[in-house]
């Protein structure tokens, strides 16, 4: 069993299919919808946490991609220019998901991308503008 987060981007013509239903029913994947933006006839974006057997998740992702939906793991859509980070901690103030935290011994910023829920609050909170998240 693994648990992994993916960002799905739907083109205009794919918005009316019940993909999440098929992921559950056909691939035995437990789904948690963490964020959704759906604009019927235009586009849609989903942040999903998929939990299941590795092979089932691989098959499920393949199934989604076969319908012209982009499906990429979340960590590939988040950029943090770590080399420029001054470890001030401003981003940790807004990160209620606990993805951005201060290491209490060396006071370095730590970023556990697997906990990110794409609330995007860190983007304006960083005074050096070091975060980019590609959700849409």
């Amino acid at each position: 069993m693994i648990k992994k987060r993916y960002i799905l981007n739907f083109p205009p013509q794919s918005g009316d299919k019940a993909f999440t239903y098929h992921l559950v029913k056909d691939y035995d994947i437990r789904i948690n919808i963490l964020k959704a933006e759906v604009y019927p006839g235009k586009r849609g974006s989903l942040l999903l946490e998929l939990q299941g057997k590795t092979e089932n998740i691989e098959k499920g992702v393949k199934y989604i991609k076969s319908h012209k939906i982009t499906c990429e793991s979340l960590d590939k859509r988040i950029r943090w220019k770590q080399e420029k980070c001054i470890d001030c901690g401003n981003c940790t103030a807004v990160c209620f998901a606990g993805a951005l935290t201060m290491n209490k011994s060396n006071w370095e910023l730590e970023f556990d991308k697997s906990k990110c829920v794409v609330c995007e609050l860190c983007i304006p909170a960083c005074p050096l503008n070091l975060f980019e998240i590609d959700f849409r």
Partner: protein
């Protein structure tokens, strides 16, 4: 009668490489098992440091004269307005200055660009005079083309600072970071037991002329900082429990490093600048030893509601609690976050320690001590005649 030491004695030991130099965190640890009398015997200098956003900062620049010359009466650097009310080619660029059309790039970014060796566009206008006939100039400058490039910060290194929270139901964007609604986070800024002015709360060693670490090079304390307030409430150890005294500092930007000067832009607030400051405190006697021994559990600060006009005080907490990750305010557990870098402050304290140990830096007896018993005026609004 316990040991006392003079600045001269300490400097001789530093030069000979025989002085014992510790950071304020190290001496706080030592103090758990040693008395101030023992510490003054053992330790000669304690290094303190901070790396936080300090809005009241800026740089003096002399551009040099062009041919034909211009009396610069309106000046822009990369579009950022600079002060023009000095001699023909002197200016001061404030860290928070910006073009309202480009609010995320300000004076601090210009200073950082120059520091990093980048070209910056200088544009200036004058009315044209007999001695300065030119009316306009637009050219590129960089750190090598300008004459003086001096960091002069009127208010830095606040002695303690408040914790910011927000009791309202809407998000608040402040210089203390983004404050979530309904007390869902708390932000704090000071480096606690490592913070310079918390280790010398009564200014027994820090004064006019004190040699310090500033932005990666040697700088000086040149005046009490603006809003210098020495009569704010103190705890039983004599340490202020809210923002109190400050210092004005100066140093040569041409010798500084972009590692210790960092431009910053805060959402819906504006531009500021992180400044790295380290201050060595000579352990002259047991009283000073006691002051520098202070630890995070003994330093308290006030929790203020930044969401409500008048920023009412909601409680008082220690830096030990703040650094633990949660504080309790009005019975509610609140997650804390720093907004200044303790990692960088530690690096500065270590760097300054090395300079002192290598005999490259000495402690300075102030030319003059700072005033005691100061307080502040609020801005009183009075009726203005319209004639």
């Amino acid at each position: 009668m316990s040991t006392t030491k003079s600045y001269e004695e300490i400097n001789q030991k530093l030069k000979a490489g025989k002085a014992v130099v510790l950071t304020a965190e190290e001496v706080a640890e030592m103090a758990k098992e040693m008395s101030p009398e023992e510490i003054v015997e053992k330790v000669d200098v304690v290094t303190t440091a901070t790396f936080g956003a300090m809005c009241s900062s800026g740089a003096i620049i002399n551009f040099g004269h062009a041919d034909p010359p211009i009396r610069m009466e309106k000046i822009r650097l990369n579009g950022v307005p600079c002060y023009e009310g000095l001699a023909a080619v002197d200016s001061y660029i404030g860290a928070t200055a910006c073009d309202p059309d480009n609010p995320e790039y300000g004076g601090a970014h210009v200073i950082q660009d120059l520091l990093e060796g980048k070209d910056v566009v200088l544009e200036a206008w004058g009315k044209g005079t007999d001695c300065y006939p030119r009316k306009h100039i637009k050219t590129k400058i960089n750190i090598n083309t300008i004459n003086e490039f001096t960091l002069f910060n009127p208010r830095n290194a606040y002695q303690n600072y408040n914790v910011a929270v927000n009791t309202t139901s809407t998000i608040k964007h402040t210089y203390m970071g983004t404050l979530l609604p309904n007390l869902r986070n708390a932000t704090y800024s000071t480096s606690g037991e490592l913070s310079p002015l918390l280790n010398d709360p009564e200014f027994k060693t820090i004064g006019l002329g004190t040699r310090i670490f500033l932005g990666g090079t040697q700088g000086f304390v040149v005046w009490p900082g603006t809003q210098f307030h020495t009569t704010k409430p103190k705890n039983e150890l004599g340490v202020p429990v809210t923002n109190a005294a400050t210092i004005a500092v100066i140093g040569n930007l041409k010798e500084m490093s972009a590692e210790y000067i960092q431009a910053a832009s805060y959402e819906k607030y504006g531009v500021s600048m992180f400044v790295g400051i380290g201050i060595p405190i000579p352990v002259l006697n047991a009283d000073i030893a006691k002051r520098v021994s202070i630890n995070n559990s003994q330093i308290e600060t006030s929790v203020l509601d930044y969401g409500t006009v008048g920023t009412p005080k909601l409680g008082q907490v220690t830096y030990e609690e703040l650094q633990s990750g949660t504080i309790k305010v009005k019975g509610k557990k609140i997650r804390t976050a720093p907004v200044a870098s303790l990692k960088k402050a530690r690096k500065i304290a270590d760097e300054l320690k090395k300079w002192l140990q290598n005999g490259e830096f000495e402690v300075t007896k102030p030319v003059q001590m700072f005033p005691a018993n100061t307080s502040l005026n609020a801005l009183q609004e009075t009726e203005v005649d319209n004639d």
